[in-house]
Each structure stands twice: as structure tokens, then as C-alpha cells.
């Protein structure tokens, strides 16, 4: 037993250290970029930290950026478990936003609480349907879901821009692509609670329920699961819909508690940011929460960075890019692996492989 424990430890330590090391290296490399562009990296990071956590308002701002990232990271991780690379989250969010706008436009007269519920459910349904399209094509016809999802993203951005300019949901008397205002509001704390609640439920379901068990088995080895009588394709399609619904939930949070309207390309970059959070979290609930918080803080601190230093706010995007890059590569494993040249060398999680393949 003791023997087993001592075997366990370094591995476990590695899996915790990996993302931390990745984030650290990302910050160092980004710091170099700051130096090259004539700034002081320590000052820049201090400004970001102050902008993200310096006051109650700034922390609130950070949390505001964190919740959609967390929900989308969950969506990404859930889909990834079934081998479905959900890169279509932005498209799902646009579809959800449009749905919310149409509900406002057509059913705006309903009592507010009912309207909120309708909007959230509508957004989740829209996200689910959009997510189902590439998944169904993949699992039924073996068409690459990444291509379909990216094309679908572009299609939905265009559709959204068009509707926000020329349809019934366009803001009256506006020349920019913007929606009418969405009346019902949700407080930020409610959305945050929902996001953390979904995270906890996700972790719990995965660990100790029958559907969670099946999902884990299908995720680890679909051929094995299928031969043992699990209905893999059905499960994968359900998961794809759930993933899309989570994106819809993120979209409703954004619109109902932050923007109170929608505009063209409002979800730009959300998909990649959340993917990064999921990668940092390595599928672990706490990890994904911390990852989302980190990326939320980067977004939250960006404004202060440009206000209080000479470094532009876009520097945050550089940091985010490097975090993603280094989180993708499992560094510790690569450098501190016993040099066998044997089976260990090829060991890597399916997630990394998928990312590498898709990239």
C-alpha cells in the first residue's frame, strides 16, 4: 500500500504543477514581449492585478468576465469527453442571443419572471440545436466537426449582423448592428451562482451517477463502451446538445446581466478563451474554476493596464495566447519524464492529442 502511495504522488503532483508551470512560462514569455515593446513587465502585471482584484468594483468586474468563461469551459470539457471538439461555441452564443432578442420582440409583454425563464430556456435550446448540427454530422456521417462548426460560426455571425441591422430585432433608429434593448435583468450574483452550481453538479454527476459513469467510459474508450452495450452515439449526441445548452446559458448570462442588449460579434474570442480555461483546468472542476478566474482576471485587468501604464490593453491577448500555447503542451511530462524512449514517451491525454490534431 505504501509502495502504491509513493508511486502515486509524483504523478499527481505533476498533474497539478503542469498548468501552473504553463501559466508561469506564459507570463515570463509575455513579459519579454512587454520588454521588447518598451514597457516594464512587472509594472504591467501589477496594473493587471490591480485592475482585476484591486477593489470591490474591479473584482466584480473580474467575476463578470469569469462566469461565461467557466460555463463555456465546462461545455468544452463535456463535449471533449465524448470526442466532440466543440469549437462552435461562439456560433451557439450568437444563436442564443438572437433567440433572446426574438423572445423579447415577440413575447415582451409577458410578466418579467416568466420572460426570464423563457429567454434562458430558449437560449439553451438554440445553443443545443446549433451544437447538434456538427455533432450529428460527425457521429452519423463521419464529417469533421471542426470544419462544420467553424463554418457555422461564420454563418451565424453573418446572420446575426444581418438581423441586428435589418430585422424586427434591430435597435430602432440605429445605424450600427445592435439589438433592441432586453428588458428583464438578472443580477450578477444569480448568474455566478448558477455557473458555480453547474460546475459542482457537473463534477458530482460525472463522479457518482450512472449517466456520469457511462459518459466517463465513453470518453475514455468508445469502442469498449459500445461493446459493453452502452449506447455511445446517442450519448454523444445528448452531450453535444448539453454542451450547446451550456453555451446558451453563458449567452443568456451575458445578455441578461451584463449587456441588456446584443450587438454583432459580441462573443468574439469567447470560444478560444474558454478552451484555454478548460486546458488549464485539465478537466478538473477546481482547475477549471481557477483557469476561468485567471482568464477572467486578465480581461478584467486589461482596462487598467492601458490606463495606468504605456502598455496597451491588447497585451492581455498576448498573455492569453501564450497561456493557451503552453497549457496545450504538457511541459512537465516532456522534460521530467524518465528517458526510456519506451511506452511512456507517447503517453499524453486524449485532450492534448485532439487539440494538436485540430490545430
Amino acid at each position: 500500500m505504501r509502495n502504491q502511495l509513493s508511486k502515486l504522488k509524483p504523478e499527481k503532483l505533476g498533474s497539478i504543477c503542469d498548468p501552473i508551470v504553463a501559466v508561469f512560462i506564459a507570463f515570463v514569455v509575455s513579459g519579454l514581449v512587454v520588454v521588447i515593446s518598451g514597457g516594464n513587465p512587472l509594472e504591467a502585471y501589477a496594473a493587471i492585478a490591480k485592475g482585476a482584484f484591486g477593489s470591490a468594483t474591479s473584482f466584480r468586474n473580474t467575476l463578470r468576465y469569469t462566469f461565461p468563461i467557466l460555463l463555456l469551459a465546462l461545455s468544452f470539457n463535456l463535449c471533449d469527453k465524448c470526442g466532440y471538439f466543440n469549437i462552435g461555441q461562439e456560433g451557439q452564443m450568437y444563436a442564443s442571443a438572437l433567440t433572446i432578442c426574438w423572445i423579447q420582440r415577440l413575447l415582451g409583454g409577458l410578466p418579467q419572471p416568466l420572460l426570464v425563464v423563457l429567454m434562458i430556456l430558449g437560449a439553451m435550446a438554440a445553443g443545443g440545436i446549433v451544437s447538434l448540427i456538427p455533432a450529428a454530422l460527425k457521429f452519423l456521417l463521419n464529417i469533421n466537426e471542426v470544419v462544420v462548426a467553424i463554418l457555422l460560426n461564420n454563418l451565424l455571425i453573418s446572420l446575426s449582423t444581418y438581423m441586428l441591422l435589418y430585422s424586427g430585432i434591430a435597435a430602432p433608429k440605429s445605424s450600427v448592428a445592435k439589438s433592441l434593448s432586453i428588458v428583464p435583468r438578472l443580477p450578477l450574483w444569480a448568474v455566478l451562482t448558477a455557473a458555480v452550481g453547474v460546475l459542482a453538479a457537473y463534477a458530482l454527476i460525472l463522479r457518482s451517477t450512472v449517466p456520469g459513469f457511462r459518459l466517463r467510459m465513453i470518453g475514455m474508450n468508445p469502442a469498449f463502451a459500445r461493446s459493453n452495450g452502452l449506447r455511445t452515439v446517442k450519448s454523444m449526441l445528448i452531450v453535444a446538445v448539453l454542451g450547446g445548452a451550456l453555451a446558451g446559458l453563458a449567452a443568456s448570462g451575458e445578455i441578461l446581466s451584463v449587456y441588456h442588449e446584443t450587438y454583432s460579434a459580441y462573443a468574439d474570442g469567447m470560444g478560444f478563451t474558454s478552451m484555454t480555461a478548460a486546458l488549464i483546468g485539465r478537466g478538473n472542476a477546481v482547475g477549471m474554476l481557477l483557469g476561468s478566474l485567471l482568464l477572467g482576471a486578465l480581461s478584467g485587468g486589461a482596462v487598467n493596464l492601458s490606463i495606468s501604464t504605456d502598455t496597451p490593453a491588447e497585451m492581455v491577448l498576448v498573455v492569453r495566447g501564450f497561456v493557451m500555447l503552453f497549457a496545450t503542451v504538457s511541459l512537465l511530462q516532456y522534460f521530467f519524464r524518465p528517458k526510456t524512449g519506451g511506452p511512456g514517451r507517447r503517453r499524453q491525454s486524449r485532450r492534448e492529442r485532439t487539440v494538436r490534431k485540430e490545430a
Binding site: Q4, V210, N221, S227, G229, G341
Partner: protein
């Protein structure tokens, strides 16, 4: 005479596992050195070191008396080539292209196809391969593809050919032909390292026989000095060994599973299964023999429900299950020991508990109202693992890293403890050591006694003949022979059927 290859004190560790411990191995020009040992004895590691895939931790390799170290590309320069068990060939490319792939004769950046074709044609003729160099590799049968692999090695200038389990995919006749080729090439000074499980072949083909056990050389023999039991003893290190046999061929019970006129046509329009019919009775072990890739896999897939039959009918216990899905069939009483233990039979990344209950997670007592009950699961697994003698732990709680025998026991435990009416066992003992083989055989015989209908698909003739009550031989997707009188059957007879010569055709030939 100077040995062509001399490995001295070669040691290789993987973490704490000592895969090769101070191995001395040499090879002289024009000889066949057979390497035998159970799985995990270190044969493959040693050969990978020789082939340049691994670098040894200690020890040295000399080639033609000169010490050297190299990687895979370098191995070829020294004239060492490996004929892998799974051919490294691109099916859509021609024989010619496959052969010249590693070193195409080029002039100014253009491949000189005409020159290459002439050279390859000559080699093909020499090995009595009638196919033209332009034929697609995929169109050849397994024996021919293996010849192409050997030709490829010769074309690239190999002096030493490492043959990794070369006969696993061959009929007895093809095996004899391969041995002929080996003998002929030896005359021209080529050397062979012959890795095999099959002791009889090793004794037939090996000039010297090295037996490995637990990462060490257990014993060296010369041709003619030994018999099978000596080698077997050296392999397992025990005095008495014998494989279990099915001795009770009593009258089987009623038909449990029947297949009627099954056809399966794959995506590219090839009929992989042609009008196949059979009945499996309660308490009967029905063996399915044949060279691999002749429809056995498709037959299993149709019975288990992995694939849908193009036409025909499958019934289990009188109930039509032709269109039923996998779960329904399993619930109706089909157990399945997959030939692909690592990918289909088990989930190596999951733990023992998960592997044991997968597919039954919703049943009592493993869950209640959708919630898993870890303590109940653990108790069940503990009991079953003890009953099936599953030992050892994998890495990080996963079953990955457990020995092949223990892994197969997990599969058997899961499938047998469900109490199946029909147990499909595909290559159930492949790659296992003798102890584990006997364990598997004992379990299958026990199931037979219990009245389970067992379908045994095996490429191992000895296994088929010692376990089956009846044998069906498949060739090109059809049943080409049935053997009901196991006692009087011979491997040669089965071999002829495997080549597609049916009972009646043979009788006609005999008459003529």
C-alpha cells in the same frame, strides 16, 4: 567464424521494470537463431534494441566485430531488417511502390520506375509470386504480403531479417513455404532471427534456440538437442506443464444460437461473409478456424451486434435478434471476449471496478436511483477478483500496466459472471503465457459444463482441436468445412480446408 551480430551484457530498464537483464545474444551468417519466451519475457525489447528502436542502458552491440550504436534508420545501413507481425505496408500502393518506398532509386529527383520494376520483378519471380509489381498490396493475401515484406528487406540490402511471429497469420501450407524460403536464403548467407510462440516451428526452423524468461536468457539449445517439453520448461521454469484439453464430447443440448444464411457486405462492396449458417448448442464448444481475415471477425461482429447483417437471420434462444442492438443482445445472454483485449475488451485508462461493472452500472446492486454505490461495487469486484484470481495493480489505479493474463481474467470475469447463454471467445489465449492459457481454458470448459454455448474463434490450431466439440472452417467469408470427429482430424486436413478446399472437393480430388 566471426559473429555477424554480437550483443553483450545488454540491459534495458523501463522505470523499475528490468526488461532485459545482461543479455548475450549473437548471430552468425547463414544461420537461423530462434528466440522464444512467454509474453513479457523481453524478446521484443531485445529485438527493438537490435533494431535501433530503443537504446540499451548497459551493454554493447557489435556488428561484424565492430561495436556500434545506431537508431532505426541506422539499423538498415547495417543490413538489419524487421518483418513486423502487422505488416508495415500501404494497402493502396502497389507492390513496387511498397518495396522501393524506403529507398527509391532516383536520378535527378525523379524515381526510376523502370529500373526498380525490373529489379522487383526479378525478386518476385525468385519467390514464385505471380502478381505483377503494379498490383495493389491490398489485393494480396496475407501469405503473399508477408513475402513482399521479406522481398522488401532483401531489396534494401538486408543481411539479417528479424521475423516477429511470422507464422501467426499463415496456414500450415504457407508456413511450410515460408520455411522453404528461409532455408534457401540461408544458403546465400542471410541470417534470420525467428521469434515465435510455437515450439514445434521453433524446433523445425531454428539452428540455435534461445529461450528467454523474465528478462533473462533462460537457456540455449542447438537444433536436435531438445524436444518441445525442454523448451517449454525453460520458458516457464516449471517441471510439469500441459495444456488443458476438452475430454468430454458428450451429446450437446438444444441449439442456443443459430445463424441462418448470413451475408455481410462491407462499405466497399466486398462480401466479407457469404451465406453463413450455423447452430451452437448448449454445452457445446463450437470452434471457428481459418486464416485470419476470412470472415471470422465479421461473423463475431454480426453476432455481438457491432455490425448489422446485410441479409440473413441471427437468433438467440429462439428469439430473433438480427436487428437488436448490442445492449439488448447482451441482456438476452450474449457474453463477448473480444480478440482486441486492449481496446475493445477493456478500458486501460479506467480502474478495475469500472472495467468489471461497465454495462451493468444501472443494475442492482451497483446503483440505486441513478446513483452509483461505490461500496457495493468495490465489494462485488473484490469477491469476483478473488474468484477469478485477478492479481496485480496497474499504474495510478488504472488497469494499464497489468500483465496480459490478468487483463484477460478481468474480461472473463466480467463476461462470465453475467451468466451468459452464449459466450463468444475470440482468440481468448492469444499472447498469454502458459499459466494464463490454462486458466482461460479451464474457465471455458467450466462454462461448457454449466451448459453455456461457446463459440471459440481461434487462429491457434492446437487450441481449436483441443477445446472444440466441433469445428467450422472459414475461407473467404464462407464455411468451407466442418469437422465433427475431432479425434481423427489432423492439422493438415484443417489446413486444406483453410485454403478453401472443401470436404467434397477433396474427396473428388482423391478419387481422381
Amino acid at each position: 567464424m566471426l559473429p555477424m551480430i554480437q550483443m553483450k551484457g545488454v540491459t534495458k530498464r523501463f522505470g523499475t521494470l528490468l526488461a532485459n537483464d545482461q543479455i548475450d545474444f549473437d548471430l552468425y551468417p547463414g544461420e537461423t537463431h530462434a528466440l522464444v519466451g512467454e509474453n513479457g519475457a523481453g524478446k521484443t525489447t531485445l529485438m527493438r534494441i537490435l533494431y535501433g528502436q530503443y537504446t540499451p542502458d548497459e551493454g554493447e552491440i557489435s556488428i561484424d566485430g565492430k561495436p556500434c550504436s545506431y537508431r532505426i534508420a541506422g539499423a538498415m545501413k547495417h543490413g538489419i531488417a524487421m518483418v513486423h507481425q502487422n505488416f508495415m505496408q500501404i494497402e493502396r500502393m502497389s507492390i513496387l511502390e511498397n518495396i522501393i518506398m524506403a529507398a527509391p532509386p532516383a536520378k535527378g529527383g525523379f524515381i526510376q520506375y523502370r529500373r526498380a520494376e525490373a529489379e522487383v520483378k526479378e525478386l518476385l519471380d525468385r519467390f514464385l509470386l505471380s502478381a505483377s509489381p503494379g498490383t495493389q498490396i491490398g489485393a494480396l493475401c496475407v501469405g503473399e504480403r508477408q513475402k513482399v515484406e521479406i522481398i522488401k528487406a532483401l531489396y534494401l540490402g538486408a543481411r539479417v531479417l528479424i521475423l516477429d511471429e511470422p507464422t501467426a497469420v499463415l496456414t500450415p501450407q504457407e508456413t511450410a513455404e515460408l520455411f522453404g524460403i528461409i532455408a534457401e536464403l540461408k544458403k546465400s548467407g542471410k541470417s534470420f532471427i525467428f521469434i515465435s510462440h510455437k515450439l514445434r516451428e521453433v524446433m523445425e526452423v531454428g539452428d540455435r534456440i534461445t529461450v528467454m524468461r523474465g528478462g533473462r536468457i533462460s537457456q540455449n539449445f542447438r537444433r536436435g538437442e531438445v524436444d518441445e517439453t525442454d523448451i517449454a520448461r525453460a520458458m516457464i521454469g516449471k517441471k510439469e506443464i500441459s495444456l488443458l484439453k476438452n475430454t468430454i464430447h458428450d451429446k450437446p443440448g438444444p441449439a442456443i444460437c443459430s445463424a441462418k444464411n448470413l451475408w455481410y457486405v462491407d462499405g466497399s462492396g466486398v462480401a466479407r461473409l457469404q451465406d453463413f449458417s450455423m447452430d451452437i448448442h448448449a454445452g457445446e464448444i463450437l470452434g471457428i478456424g481459418g486464416v485470419e481475415g476470412n470472415g471470422q471477425t465479421e461473423l463475431i461482429d454480426l453476432l455481438v451486434g457491432m455490425k448489422r447483417a446485410s441479409s440473413g437471420q441471427v437468433s438467440l434462444d429462439g428469439q430473433d435478434i438480427t436487428r437488436a442492438d448490442i445492449r439488448t443482445r447482451r441482456e438476452a445472454g450474449i457474453g463477448y471476449v473480444s480478440e482486441d483485449r486492449m481496446n475493445v475488451g477493456l478500458c486501460l485508462d479506467a480502474d478495475l471496478n469500472e472495467n468489471m461493472i461497465c454495462g451493468r452500472e444501472q443494475a442492482r446492486p451497483f446503483s440505486h436511483r441513478g446513483l452509483l454505490r461505490p461500496s457495493q461495487i468495490a465489494a462485488y469486484v473484490r469477491e469476483t477478483a478473488a474468484h477469478f484470481d485477478i492479481r496485480g495493480v496497474g499504474e495510478k489505479g488504472r488497469i494499464k500496466g497489468m500483465s496480459g493474463g490478468n487483463l484477460q481474467k478481468i474480461v472473463l470475469a466480467r463476461e462470465i459472471s453475467r451468466g451468459p447463454k452464449l459466450l463468444i471467445a475470440a482468440q481468448p489465449t492469444r499472447g498469454l503465457d502458459i499459466g494464463a492459457i490454462n486458466f482461460v481454458r479451464a474457465r471455458l470448459l467450466e462454462e461448457k459444463k454449466r451448459g453455456t454455448a461457446i463459440l471459440l474463434v481461434s487462429a491457434d490450431m492446437e487450441e481449436l482441436m483441443s477445446l472444440s466439440d466441433r469445428i467450422l472452417i472459414m475461407c473467404a467469408g464462407a464455411c468451407t468445412g466442418e469437422v465433427t470427429d475431432i479425434a481423427s482430424a489432423t492439422e493438415e486436413m484443417l489446413g486444406l480446408m483453410m485454403g478453401g478446399i472443401t470436404n467434397s472437393a477433396k474427396k473428388e480430388a482423391d478419387h481422381a
